[in-house]
Amino acid sequence: MAIFPPQNRLWWKEPLSGIEITWIGVAFIWGLIMFGTMVGWHFVGKQNLSNETYRVDPSAFGEKVEAMVERYQVREEGDTGVPVVHPAPGTDIYMLARLWEWWPVLELEKDQSYRLHLSSMDWQHGFSLQPQNINLQVHPGYDMVLTITPDKSGEYAVVCNEFCGIGHHTMVGKIHVIDKK
C-alpha cells in the first residue's frame, strides 16, 4: 500500500505495465503537440504579441499621448469630455491608463494597422477590449508596443481588469472602429 514502504526493495527494477507505458507515451506526445502549437502559431497565426517594450518615465509617456491628442483630436465624448482622436493609419497611437480612466478615446479605421502603445501613469491596470476579449497587462514605467489591425467595425469598450483601487469598476474607455471614409 502507498502508506507502507514498497514491499519490493528493488522497486525501481520492476517492469512497467503496458497500460502505463502507453499512457505515458500518449501524454508525452500530446505535450509535444501543445508545445508545437504554441511555437507554430508564431509562424501561421495572426494573434501574437510583439516582444517590443521600452522603459518609459510616466510623464514622458504622458507627453507623447498629449501630442497625439493635440494633433488628431476630432471631438469629445462622454460625461467628462474625453477627447476622441482619429490618428492617421499606420502611425503610432497611444492609450494611457490612470486612476480611473483610459485616455483618450481612439477612433480607428477598419483593416488598417496601428502601432498601439500602452502604459500606466500610476498603478497596474488591465486593458480588456470588449466584446473582443483581448486582455493585456499595463504597467507603469513600461511602454508596451503592439501592432493591431481591427478587422470589424463597431464600438468597443476598454474595461480595466486589474484591480486598481476603489474606483476600479468605473474605469471604462472606448475604441471606435469605423469603415474607411
Binding site: L16, W41, G126, I148, I166, T170
Partner: protein, 576 residues
Amino acid sequence: MAVDTQAPSRGFIGAAYRTCPETGLKVCSQAEALIKVNAVVAVVFLAVGGFFGLLVALTRWPAVHLLPADWFYLLLTAHGADVLLFWIIFFEVAVLYFASAIILNCRLAAPKFAWLAFVLMVVGAVLANVAVLQGESSVMFTSYVPMQAAPHFYLGLIVFAVGTLIAVFCFFGTLVIAKEEGSYEGSVPLVTFGAITAAIIAVFTIASGAIILIPTFLWSVGYISHIDPLMYKIIWWGMGHASQQINVSAQVAIWYAVAAMLLGAKPLSEKVSRMAFLMYILFLQLASAHHLLVEPGVSSEWKIFNTSYALYLAVLGSMIHGMSIPGAMEAAQRRNGFNNGVFEWLRKAPWGNPAFSGTMLSIVIFGFLGGISGVVMGTEQLNLIMHNTLYVPGHFHATVVGGTTLAFMAITYLLVPLIFRKEIMFKKIAQWQPYVFGAGIAGISLFMMGAGTLGVARRHWDMGFSDAAMSFDYPATAFLMMGLNGMAGVLAAVGGLMFVLVVVCSVFFGKARTPESIAASPTLPDTGGAATVTAYGSEAHPKLPGTVVLVSIFLVAFVLYYYVNWKYLSEVWPLS
C-alpha cells in the same frame, strides 16, 4: 492484538507514544498534538475565509449585489489570504507531520520548534487578517506594487512564512530520525514521498516569498523608494504559483493515501508514480510565467519555455497520477472481487464513505475542470483571451477548492477517528457533504469560466458599470452566468458549513472511539483480497479496461477543448 490505547508508553529516546489500535502504528504524542492543533486552526480559517467567499459570490450575483464596493474589495482580499494561504498551509503542515512521524512510525523531530512554528504561523495569519480588516490593505491577495498595503500586512505574511519554514524543517528532521532509528525498512512509502515533494517545493516557494516580500515590507515603511512592478510579479508568482504546486503534491499524496487506506490500493508501479512526483520538483516552479503571458518586457521564448513547464513535463506528471491512481483503485477493487464488466469496480466502490467520495470528486474536478483549463489558459497566445477575466478564478477554484480543499476534507474524515480518536457525528450529513460541496464548486468553476469566456473581469465590483463615465454592456448570458455562479456559491457554502459542523462537533463533542466501536466499524476496512497480492509490477495486474476508458475520455475532452479555444483566438483582431 491486546493494546492499551489510552496510556502512552515511553520510547527509548524519551518520546511518548501510543499504539494505534486500528493500524498498529506507533503514534508520537507530540506529532499527534501538533497535527490536531494545526488541523483545527486550518478549519477555523476555512470557515472564516469560506464565509467571506460567500459574501463575495453574493456581491457578484448581479440581482443580489450584496456588499458596497469598499467591503467587496476588502473581503475579497481577506478571502484569498484566509483560504488560499492559511487554511491550506495549516492543513499541509498537519499532513507533513502525519506523512512523516505517523506513517514512518517514529517520533517528531524538535517538537519545541514545531510548536514555535505553529505559534508564528498563527501570529502571522492573525496579523495579516487584522491589517486587511482595518481597511488599509485592500490590495488583493497578490498585492501588486505600486499599490501599497499597510506594513503589518506584509509583516504578517513574512512571519507566517517563517513559521511554515520551521515546520517544513521539522518534517525533514523527522525523516532523518526515522532513517537513523530504522523505523521503516527500504524506501519511504509513496505517500511520504509525495509529502517530501510538497516540502521541497515549499522551501523554494518560501524563498521566493522572502526575496520579494521583505523588500516590499521595507518599501511600505519607507526604507526602499521603488519596487519594479514587473520584477515584483515574476518573483511574487515564484511564490504564488509554486505554492499551488505544494497543494498539488500534497493532494496527490492524499489521493494515494485514501486509495490505499480504503481500498488497499497499491501504486501500479512505484517507479512511475515516484517519477511523476519528481517531475513536479523539477518543472512545476516554472509556472510563474503563467501570470506574465500578456505582460510587457518578457519575450515569447521565455514565455513559451516556462509556461509549458519545459515541454509540458509537469503536466505529464499530473497526467501520470491521473491514470495511475484510478488504475491502482481498479486493480485493488478487482482483486477485492469486483471483477464484472468494465465498471463494476467503480460502481461498487464505497461511495457512501465521504473520505472516498471526496477523493474521487477531487480527482475528477481537479483533472477535468482545473487541469484542462489551466493548461489552456497557460498557453502563451490563448492567455490573451482569458487573462484577468473570471476564467482565472474559475480555473483555480477547480484546482484549489475542488482539488485540494476537497481532498483535505476527504482525509479529515479519516483523521478524526484515527488521530482525534472520535466517532464522526451526523453520519448522514457527512455522507452528503462531499457531493454538496463538490457540486457547488464545480458550478462556481464552470460558471466563472463561462463568464470569463464572455469577457467579464475578475476582482470587479460592478459588471453593469453603473458609475462609469462611459458605458458598456456585457452580453445577457454573462449576467446569467454570474447569477448561476452566485447560486453555486451558496451551494458550496452549505457544503462547507456541513463539513465544519461535522468536524467541529465530532472533535469537540464526539464520542471517543472504543475497542468495541473500532471492531464494529473500522476506519480502515479489511481489504483482505488486496493484502494477498505481495508484488508490484505488471505481472501482478489484472487488465484495467475501466481506467483505459476513463483516461481516454479525459484525453478527448482535453484535445477538443484545447483546439476550440484556438478557434476563439483566431477570431479576434490580428495582433503582432
